[in-house]
């Protein structure tokens, strides 16, 4: 294998943290402590973790609303992520975004977006800024396969291709948009084939294999960084939970879900680590325990954090004009 022990364990740690974090969020939702929509990332962890391992810390990231995994994979404090789910003042977006709108601009995480496909042109624009300012950064834009039938997918990627912008589009194909199997609503159901309309390179990979994701994102990112223009990766995966909370899942059978769980990305990676003798069972158990503890601490922090004060309600709508046009450091 082409990974070091430290990398292998770091990826397992992050995937386990995401899994445990999501399970705790699910519990809190059941207790009425988290409201609104809650789209869990369980089953898809290898994509966020593999991709973040390949990206540089200052590469720009935009995501869809199923976004807890990306933020945790980038190493953002899970406490602030859970606090956002709880709608607390200590949350990443001060409790004003919630589950679907996680951002940490300091870490070049430019937000989760909840209008399907709506953030793809934003990624084009950020890539345009990077090219214009001659920065070595690329933009990684994540979205579901369901976003590849809406206009902004075509309009955004076409523009990026015309201007040869440094952009990697990572499509998480978990086979269903809510309850609709993709092939029922998409004339072309292999998403990577859609890249031909932009004349850009594209690959289809196993999104449950964290190493395959890391390698593909690394290759595509470097190609794009070197001036190769936008690239597209279709990562095949499966979501183990419902679309959001309260999904009766009539559109798929229990057998199908159970069969998919045989390819649980965490199990696969754990097995691979053991087969390659990168760590012992005891070391892996320690990682799982650590993830438990971190998720628990995140919940405690969220529970104990204050709600945003009423003064927060009307803050950050418009920036006072006298604070505008401050010369910025463009580097």
């Amino acid at each position: 294998m082409t990974v070091t022990k430290a990398e292998a364990l770091d990826w397992l740690r992050k995937m386990s943290l995401i899994r445990r974090f999501e399970e705790r969020a699910e519990e809190a939702y059941g207790q009425g402590k988290i409201g609104g929509f809650l789209h869990l990332y369980i089953g898809e962890e290898a994509i966020a973790v593999g991709a973040m391992a390949a990206l540089r810390p200052d590469d720009d990231v935009l995501t869809h609303y199923r976004d807890h995994g990306y933020v945790l994979a980038r190493g953002i404090d899970p406490k602030r992520v859970m606090a956002e789910l709880y709608g607390k003042a200590t949350g990443l977006s001060k409790g004003k975004g919630g589950s679907m709108h996680m951002a940490d601009a300091k870490h070049h995480l430019w937000g989760g977006y909840a209008i399907v496909g709506g953030h793809i042109p934003l990624a084009t624009g950020m890539a345009l800024a990077n090219q214009y300012l001659d920065l070595p950064r690329i933009v990684a834009c994540f979205f579901g396969e369901g976003a590849t039938n809406i206009g902004t997918f075509y309009a955004g990627l076409n523009m990026a291709a015309v201007w040869k912008l440094p952009l990697v589009a990572i499509v998480e194909n978990n086979r269903y948009g809510m309850g609709t199997a993709f092939e029922r609503v998409s004339a072309v159901s292999a998403v990577y084939q859609k890249a031909c309309v932009f004349n850009i390179p594209a690959v289809q990979i196993d999104g449950n294999d964290v190493l395959a994701v890391r390698d593909a994102v690394r290759d595509m990112a470097e190609r794009s960084r070197a001036g190769g223009g936008p690239q597209l990766i279709e990562a095949m995966t499966y979501r183990f939970r419902g679309h959001s909370m309260g999904d009766p899942q009539r559109y798929r059978s229990k057998e199908e879900v159970e069969a998919a769980k045989a390819r649980d990305p965490i199990l696969l990676w754990r097995r691979s680590i053991l087969e390659n003798r990168l760590a012992t069972e005891a070391e892996l158990q320690a990682i799982a325990d650590e993830a438990d503890a971190e998720a628990d601490a995140a919940v405690r922090f969220a529970e104990e954090s204050p709600a945003p004060g009423p003064a927060e309600l009307c803050r950050d709508v418009l920036i006072p004009e006298q604070e505008s046009d401050v010369p910025e450091d463009l580097s």
């Binding site: 951002a103 042109p121 950020m126 800024a129 214009y132 902004t152 523009m159 015309v162 201007w163 046009d325």
Partner: protein, 323 residues
């Protein structure tokens, strides 16, 4: 001071700001090689080149979305939408991205963006003759500017480009050719400040964009009969500066709002509600409003001419309100 057209005033603002700040760039359909559908960016492609003047595909959602992303990434884009009719294709980007990103992520991200676009009409029929300013003025998180004179257009566009907020800058195709005083030197005008365009004591007429000129024409005609209208130009529709309107109503006790859009749920309704609520005791009668007939725009010239209140109708309305 010299006389300049609204169109040239806008171009001067764009040129000056592009020279002043390298982060400013223009993107839109036909803004480069063609020189702008309404010639606002004429010869700027030659001057600034293809890095800073970007011809885009016909894809309004991507034009606005890309501009929002570029703003998030540290640039100060000016996106041109060929006409405001096509803003509908970009509505999700304007409503859900441009106007919300700053708030939704707890103030972490700024979107210093200008969307320039003309309203207008001229036998262009139902889909190409619209205004929609009230739709945008409805949105918290957006600044909506709608200047009526060359002087205001230049000074306000410069401020819009320097603003860290997203600004919807609505021009008017029928104003591009009008001339007015524009100083030769550098100046900016603040956004969110209404302006008294003509002082008077008998009635307050509130207007903006092209209807400002209808208001001024009517005021001129009425002055011959000794009726003095005070004409207030809103200039910015969000945030609304009501102070000059209130000061005027205190004197005149009567107000008429002119808009080019359909009046239902429009700017006139908003202004009337605010005056009625905040200055009820100053009023001698209900706030009146005049706007477009509530039908889609017809093509035929004679029918189109019936769509908007003209100077004569406004003078009649004023006389009626004063009688």
């Amino acid at each position: 001071m010299s006389q300049k057209t609204y169109r040239d005033a806008l171009r001067e603002a764009l040129r000056e700001e592009m020279i002043r700040d390298e982060r400013v760039l223009i993107l839109g359909e036909e803004v480069g090689v063609w020189g702008g559908t309404y010639a606002i960016t004429r010869s700027m492609f030659t001057e600034f080149g293809s890095k800073r003047i970007l011809d885009t595909p016909i894809a309004e959602a991507a034009i606005v979305g890309t501009a929002v992303g570029a703003a998030m990434g540290g640039l100060r884009p000016v996106a041109e939408l060929m006409t405001i009719n096509f803003s509908l294709v970009a509505m999700d980007q304007i409503v859900n991205n441009a106007a919300k990103i700053h708030y939704m992520f707890g103030g972490q991200i700024r979107v210093p963006l200008v969307i320039r676009t003309p309203a207008g009409w001229g036998q262009l029929a139902a889909t190409h003759s619209q205004t929609f300013e009230a739709w945008f003025a409805h949105l918290p998180g957006l600044i909506v500017a709608m200047p009526g004179t060359p002087y205001d257009a230049k000074g306000m566009l410069k401020s819009a480009i320097r603003s860290d907020n997203p600004v919807m800058f609505i021009e008017h195709a029928r104003l591009y050719g009008i001339k007015g005083e524009v100083p030769d030197g550098e100046y900016t005008l603040p956004l969110g400040v209404s302006d008294v365009k003509r002082p008077g004591r008998d009635i307050t007429i509130v207007a903006y964009s092209r209807m400002l000129h209808v208001a001024l024409g009517a005021a001129e005609a009425l002055a011959k009969d000794g009726i003095e209208c005070e004409v207030i130009d809103l200039r910015t529709l969000r945030p609304l500066d009501m102070a000059p309107v209130y000061a005027s109503v205190k004197k005149t006790h009567r107000a008429l709002v002119l808009e080019e859009d359909w009046t239902t749920c429009g700017m006139g309704a908003e202004i009337a509600a605010r005056i009625s609520h905040d200055r009820f005791d100053d009023l001698d009668g209900p706030v009146e409003r005049m706007g477009q007939v509530e039908v889609p725009m017809p093509y035929a010239r004679n029918l189109e001419a019936l769509m908007f209140p003209d100077e004569r109708q406004v003078t009649e309305k004023v006389r009626e309100m004063l009688s």
